[in-house]
């Protein structure tokens, strides 16, 4: 009898610790943030002493030029890096999807930029972009060209952080695309080859359409991550010069720590979270849609 009731309790016993930690460390903070976004609150006050200001933090942000600029920078950055990375990553995967020896070694080396701390990645690039000792300007000088103000000019600084992000994250897309390519049905590719499709036609009309589900999920995952980038840019430019590379995550952290406006920072966090929520939900719905279509196809195939 005792062991029966013990067995009944087992699942709760197994889940409870994780549940408690998640509630204390993740759910409560997020709920707290939503609450704090309605307050005029600075770090020296207890949260109970802060004044309730309703939606003022949110509406203030709509007329805050610096915030709007950071939103625009974030969107620009995310869309540019993700498009460049998809093109290069997919292209390389299509090119290297064959029996080459050493492809697994290449994959291992490709993970390195993603495993190293973002702080260190920022450090390496800041060193390479250094106006006098950096490798880029040194090479330019040796070749007799003008040096480029990589991090000190507001146009170049955006280009510089984009290059660094492309270096770090193209391998992610490459690895996912390669995995997707290698799980494509062999028979379909074989049929296309027998019908005389050349490499371009195979890639354009067979491989890419078949990879579409994976590609779209990869794209959304990367977009979500691109909105979260912070440390690499913090180390390289700290948002500058001016506001040219100040993405939203950086803006939030500065609003909280430098300007000491926790309520406004929480409201910004909420905007960022809503944007990300939109992306995540669209990704989930897309997955559902693909799954349903696949099942319908299977049912059709069986019925016919």
């Amino acid at each position: 009898m005792k062991s029966a009731s013990l067995n009944k309790m087992t699942p709760y016993f197994f889940i409870a610790p994780a549940g408690v930690v998640l509630a204390l460390g993740l759910l409560y903070p997020i709920a707290y943030m939503v609450y704090a976004s309605f307050l005029d609150w600075n770090p020296s006050q207890l949260i109970g002493e802060a004044d309730w200001v309703g939606f003022k933090n949110y509406s203030n942000l709509w007329v805050d030029e610096a915030f709007k600029e950071s939103m625009w920078v974030t969107l620009k950055f995310a869309f540019i890096v993700v498009s460049i990375e998809i093109v290069i990553g997919l292209g390389l995967a299509l090119l290297l999807d064959r029996n080459i020896r050493g492809i697994s070694a290449l994959r291992t080396i490709f993970i390195l930029p993603m495993m190293i701390a973002p702080i260190v990645v920022g450090l390496m690039w800041r060193y390479m972009y250094h106006p006098s000792v950096g490798i880029f300007n040194r090479t330019l000088k040796d070749l007799g060209f003008e040096s480029i103000p990589w991090l000190s000019d507001s146009t170049w600084s955006l280009v510089s952080i984009i290059i660094a992000d492309v270096w770090q994250w193209t391998p992610f897309i490459f690895i996912l695309c390669l995995a997707a390519l290698q799980s494509l049905p062999r028979s379909t590719l074989e049929a296309a080859r027998i019908d005389g499709a050349n490499a371009w036609q195979q890639a354009l009309y067979i491989k890419i359409p078949l990879m579409m589900p994976v590609l779209i999920v990869t794209l959304l995952l990367r977009l979500i991550d691109a909105f979260k980038v912070l440390e690499v840019i913090l180390v390289m430019t700290n948002g500058g010069p001016g506001l040219s590379t100040e993405i939203m995550a950086l803006r939030i952290s500065r609003t909280a720590s430098e300007f000491r406006e926790l309520g406004a920072a929480a409201a910004m966090s909420n905007y960022l979270l809503m944007m990300l929520l939109l992306l995540t939900i669209s990704m989930f719905l897309y997955n559902k849609f693909v799954e349903q279509r696949r099942q319908k196809m299977l049912a059709l195939a069986e019925g016919g």
Partner: protein, 291 residues
């Protein structure tokens, strides 16, 4: 078979492409390594950057506090970094251990006792993956300081890291536990094992690869994270990423020393990559390729 043989002979152009890719992806890391072996004089000098006498002096400067000898060239030994290194190791190891234990238990219950649908778990994981650390900054700072009283403590930062990593760990372990044959567990139950024994002695050994993937991902986050560590920790509990950013604010940067610090921070993830790249790729692709 014939086909395979012909396919493995590729034109040299592919190998050239692969070499170029390898150089591009490891180039910056090699550059960091060589810089960390240079004195600042060599870094600043105008002559070729390839000819220099490698020296370990930068590493000695950084680690002077834990070395068994006193390096001659160090006038004043700054203990900040070696302390931060100790803190980083402690925080990363403890939060990885806790995350794995809690994550395993929860994943097991979710699979075997059919607690929630797999769809619900995937959705929650995705949602959690979406939350940027920057969003947690304000509430974590507020709660940890005012309601939990955990600011500046190891417990506080470990709680954040465990909570941040749990969803992903539960989700990835689930996909491994699903593959454990139920007959194995039933046989153990016949032999009179209780649920705890089944879990620890039967299930855990089978899902080792999943545990390795989950451990690496958790360790990496806890080891590399900067923003929350910067907000929560104080002088004595600071981690390495925080000290690196702090030493960057000065105008006159000693590139050799800072690159040595960066190298020390980068070494554990690099080692993991080489010994467990297969598990890492499994963890990375799990979300997108087969959900």
């Amino acid at each position: 078979m014939m086909k395979n043989a012909s396919e493995s002979r590729q034109s040299p152009a592919f190998y050239a492409l692969m070499v170029a890719l390898v150089i591009m992806s490891v180039g910056p890391i090699i550059l960091m390594l060589t810089t960390s072996l240079k004195l600042n004089v060599d870094v600043m000098s105008d002559t070729s950057s390839l000819l220099f006498t490698p020296t370990l002096k930068n590493y000695e400067t950084v680690l002077c506090d834990v070395l068994w000898y006193a390096p001659e060239h160090v006038d004043y030994c700054n203990p900040t970094f070696s302390r931060a290194l100790g803190n980083s190791i402690f925080i990363a190891l403890v939060s990885t251990a806790i995350t794995l234990i809690l994550g395993c238990m929860a994943a097991y219950a979710l699979v075997r006792f059919k607690f929630m649908g797999r769809g619900a778990i995937s959705l929650t994981t995705l949602m959690m993956r979406m939350v940027p650390p920057a969003v947690l900054l304000v509430p974590v700072f507020g709660i940890w300081t005012f309601s939990y009283g955990l600011d500046g403590t190891f417990t506080g930062i470990i709680l954040v890291y465990v909570a941040m990593n749990l969803p992903f760990v539960i989700w990835i372990l689930q996909s491994f536990i699903v593959q454990v044959p139920i007959q194995l567990e039933e046989a153990a139950k016949m032999d009179g094992a209780n649920p705890l024994q089944i879990f620890f002695l039967v299930v855990l050994p089978v899902i080792k690869p999943g545990l390795a993937a989950a451990a690496i991902f958790t360790f990496r986050i806890a080891w590399n994270e900067f923003l929350l560590a910067n907000a929560l920790l104080d002088r004595n509990t600071r981690t390495v990423p925080v000290t690196i950013v702090n030493s960057l604010t000065e105008y006159d940067i000693d590139w050799g020393v800072i690159m040595a610090t960066g190298m020390l921070l980068a070494i554990p993830p690099i080692i993991f990559t080489f010994i467990a790249s297969k598990q890492i790729i499994t963890g990375m692709t799990a979300g997108a390729v087969k959900g």
